[in-house]
Symmetry: C2
Subunit: 468 residues, 2 copies
């Protein structure tokens, strides 16, 4: 029988376990690595238009039934007061202790039907909460595509595309056969794509506006080729974005996709949860990568205030999981703040150059455009001898011509401060399969606003990305 | 109706056409980009053992019938005198003018049955020759897997694995249930893998010995997992090699996979061939990348002497395509020689650093571990103002801690000479989708032996890789 996460934790230190996971890279599966090349694909989301194929890398959880809204309002921190039909939200659940578990995009599809989309930790938590509660809801789960399908067919419930960039509206008008309805940010409406009517969410990932559309997976090729044809017809150079460029769009726009779920501590319900999670779960099989090694798993957690999600909180709700803890956390001086780290180019060159010196020590390879080598990243950020922050998700931007990462820093740190990030893992590197033997070094990072992209800072809709 | 290559060539300069192909990167499809990480995968083929999944990236052509041997001996330059059953050869066809078309590995499966495996140009040429000749042969073709399957299942006739590295024999002994028969280099025998009897070719790609095995595609998962289990059992750390590391093994061992097929010139049969090739063919849709731009497509061709294949030639055969031309070419002082170019690390850093300078010019991105950005690569190699060579296939080796490329140089060039390779394309870059806007620069290269790898030079079997 499969072990539970709780059993694993009784046998071993969980930090050691996750830091030495053998799961390999966190993969964006099902999508070709590159369609044109990752530099041009990055340029296109800023300068022309891109199609992101999001059909594969996210879980989908459907919650239906008379208690659907009450249940989800209990599980997430969000204010549900204004959650009308045809809206979407950035759904954030926390533990009773107030630690972020993850986040999904949640769509209200019908009076009593919601679908949530994102990484596994939030899916697992929703399913667990439905299983232990007395809610009149039916929950179904469509997990992300296999990371290494090895030539086998992939089946999902829905295709999911995002079309985005300055020229996106020209394409929508063409596929829709006329002007597209004015859709407010994070609202859903229906548009035509060829012979199909599809749901469309007004969204935008790297700064520029766009639409996220979805429908039955069987329609995927038809929708994709119809959009591509329309782009050709209106003379727009639309780029399909491959899996290599895809994950880097967030370093420009400022969303941290991979906080470590804060579920490894706590008794009662939390212990039950860890007994419910098997050894194959994201929480038990996933990995922590980076220079930060702490015996205390809680040192890797973040709270919603630190990620800029504080203003989502539905304080008026009678109760939701974590409300008491968040009430105490609110405004605490120990809360860190989200920033972008701009990596010093000279130091980056030092790291790369070390991999061109036969017989000498090498620093951890910086893979381009996505240097992350674990499900969750935690690189120490130092001010002198003091750790003042944690770098949590990185990527190279050809648009900005630099490496960037997102993370959190102490309140004392200011934009413009130059800090030192420790790059690579101690003791020659962990046993993760994604790690080659290497030595640690430091890379200077300049603390910068989030989102980093000037475009994203000025053109992005009013949301967590720009709230501070 | 599809255009033919000949029609395309009547409408446009073929060099311009191929240099601006929109086909994108030449992809190693169907295999995950990384299983562990590409540095460790490279280390494993030298230090422990790797499994290469070769099931997807090559065409297979089966030639059967009473005339099979006579036909193939006519099409290829090789001596067929010693082509007994249970042997394989490195099969090389040339044009009547003596230019290399490509190369396959050819296996004699039965008295009158051969299978050849490799890139499309050789497949197409074999099929064409069978179609125009009076040979009593049946030819069937299983093309390589789709480059971007987009979640659809892939079907091939055969799986094909190569297991290689210093520890490979321990695994074979385990899967075979006893010592493996002594198989000579490029000979085939049968071994057991679990419940299956499989054909095994003694081969080795990056220097160390190994076996290439194949069988029905339906057996792929069974064979793969049986080998992986055996590796675990004997305590060998076997690495699966992902598509990113895969293509770089050849820069260590010295085989050039992608000479431009010399089929764009010549009348008579060559013109017929170009009329037979459609616009979708590798020859018409593929791409030339690199700094070398010549109006004359023949300047991209190579002959078998230049690639080190001269000693394959079956001079005693009454006739074969290209015999007269090769007779004249033999020993010509204009024949270039194959070498490895070791890229200067400082100059490589200059190129990379230019992609960290916002607002300034950038040189062509060097993608790791595989910087090639076309089906065929042609970078100019200069000695002062004189072009003395052409760099044809590149890759970074973590084993050697350097970028290497393979190519040809004039006879006057000596091992140890430091030359300048022009890196990037003129005029801001071609219109290939694999090319971002960039400026040209130079990278010093030191001329080095082929194969570069000391291991490959000393341990590889007696073949073209070590013949000079």
């Amino acid at each position: 029988m499969a072990k539970s996460l709780e059993q694993i934790m009784q046998e071993t230190n969980i930090v050691t376990h996750l830091r030495n996971s053998k799961i390999g890279m966190y993969i964006y599966p099902g999508v070709a690595p590159e369609f044109t090349n990752w530099r041009s694909e990055q340029m296109a989301w800023r300068d022309s238009v891109v199609l992101y194929d999001q059909s594969h890398h996210m879980d989908e959880v459907t919650v239906e039934g008379p208690d659907a809204q009450a249940f989800l309002a209990h599980v997430g921190i969000n204010d549900f007061g204004n959650f009308d039909m045809g809206r979407a939200k950035h759904f954030v659940p926390v533990t009773p202790a107030g630690h972020v578990i993850g986040d999904h995009i949640i769509f209200r599809l019908d009076e009593n039907k919601y679908v949530t989309v994102g990484r596994a930790p939030t899916s697992n938590w929703i399913m667990f909460q439905a299983a232990i509660g007395k809610w009149n809801v039916k929950v179904s789960h469509d997990p992300r595509s296999d990371s290494r399908p090895d030539g086998k067919a992939i089946y999902r419930t829905h295709y999911r595309f995002q079309i985005q960039g300055p020229d996106a509206d020209k394409i929508f008008e063409e596929v829709n056969g006329g002007p597209v309805p004015e859709i407010k940010f994070f609202h859903v409406d229906t548009i035509n794509i060829g012979s199909r009517k599809v749901q469309a969410l007004r969204h935008g990932m790297a700064g520029a506006p766009g639409l996220e559309i979805w429908g039955p997976y069987a329609d995927k090729s038809y929708i994709q080729s119809t959009i591509a044809e329309a782009a050709k017809k209106v003379g727009v150079e639309m780029h399909f974005v491959g899996s290599r460029a895809y994950s880097t769009n967030t370093v420009e726009s400022g969303w941290i996709p991979s906080p470590l779920p804060g579920i490894y501590t706590g008794d009662g319900m939390m212990k039950d949860y860890r007994e419910w999670l098997t050894e194959q779960s994201y929480e038990a099989a996933g990995s922590i990568g980076g220079s930060y090694v702490s015996d205390n798993i809680e040192d890797y957690y973040v709270n919603p205030f630190e990620l800029g999600y504080g203003f989502y909180i539905g304080w008026k709700k009678d109760d939701f999981i974590g409300k008491d803890a968040l009430t105490k956390m609110k405004g605490a001086s120990s809360n860190r703040k989200k920033v972008t780290f701009e990596w010093n180019a000279e130091d980056v060159m030092k790291v790369i150059a070390s991999n061109f010196a036969p017989g000498e020590k090498n620093y951890k390879w910086i893979d381009f455009p996505q240097p992350n080598y674990a499900s969750s990243t935690a690189d120490k950020v130092m001010q002198g001898d003091k750790m003042v922050g944690m770098s949590m998700f990185n990527g190279y931007s050809f648009n900005e011509r630099c490496l960037l990462s997102l993370g959190v820093v102490d309140q004392s740190v200011e934009v413009g401060d130059v800090l030192e990030m420790v790059w690579g893992e101690p003791d020659g590197g962990s046993k993760k399969t994604s790690v080659e033997p290497h030595e640690q070094t430091t890379i200077r990072v300049r603390v910068s606003p989030t989102p980093y992209s000037t475009e994203a800072r000025t053109n992005y809709a009013d949301s967590w990305r720009t709230k501070t």
